[in-house]
Symmetry: C2
DNA sequence: ATCAATACATAAGTAATTTAGGTATTTATT
DNA sequence: AATAAATACCTAAATTACTTATGTATTGAT
């Protein structure tokens, strides 16, 4: 039986963040060397003061896909009886991360052109 | 028979822009008063120097949805034998536009927190 | 003891697109 | 004059990136 203690009233302004999860993940791994899934969800929540909550249903499949694509590699670590999976960027992943940052810059500039045309 | 003269080699960095089309549209209509579909695709291409191309398959269904939701209203105009459909914000649409801009600001700030943590 | 937090996972459903067509008129090019 | 390109609308199937809703199991706090 499940008892939910936290009621999630998050609005669905979420759609703007679509497509951002992968660059966010790559950036965090670049900064931190290696991280595990749960840690990533918590770090994003901290960094954004709760504004952005990475759902596990989005994160875990992404981690698996990027591992399959050779962008991430994984190391298992045992904590007592539990397993923790640390992910880090492969050499390919580092190139991919750099590309993602360039694309993100272009994205931000493009938004600037549309939403703040005077400053451009 | 169809002969394609322009070969579209657009990469699929497109995913970052997912969820941005509606705020872009609302912003353009706020700035320009009224616009028609084809004009919107061209304006965005101009504004962004070709970086962002709004596809008609995305735009027209969105215009129809927003009209059905009472966010946009439409005026038909005849050009010779052709019809042009001008869209503009309803009063509801103006409120929606303002909300979208606030959400976009929050989005940009959140990205800042993740990608430029030092400047925040 | 019980609840909350930690830590992994998958699968069905949904929304915003892309891709790939389609029709028709008007303007430019050869 | 004929052809191509641009203008102007449209839709529907497929894809993508998620959300929502589950599930299991361990560990730490009250």
């Amino acid at each position: 039986m499940y008892l939910y203690t936290e009621i999630n009233i998050s609005v669905n302004k979420a759609s703007l963040y679509k497509g951002c999860l992968e660059p966010i993940l790559l950036k965090l791994l670049k900064e931190n060397g290696r991280m595990y899934g749960y840690e990533i969800t918590q770090r994003v929540k901290e960094l954004t003061a709760g504004e952005l909550k990475i759902t596990e249903g989005a994160l875990y499949p992404l981690l698996h896909r990027l591992e399959a694509e050779g962008i991430l590699e994984v190391e298992m670590e045992n904590l007592g009886n539990r397993v923790r999976k640390y992910y880090s960027l492969t050499p390919t992943g580092k190139k991919e991360q750099a590309k993602a940052m360039i694309e993100l810059e272009a994205f931000k500039n493009t938004l600037q052109l549309i939403f703040n045309p005077k400053l451009a």
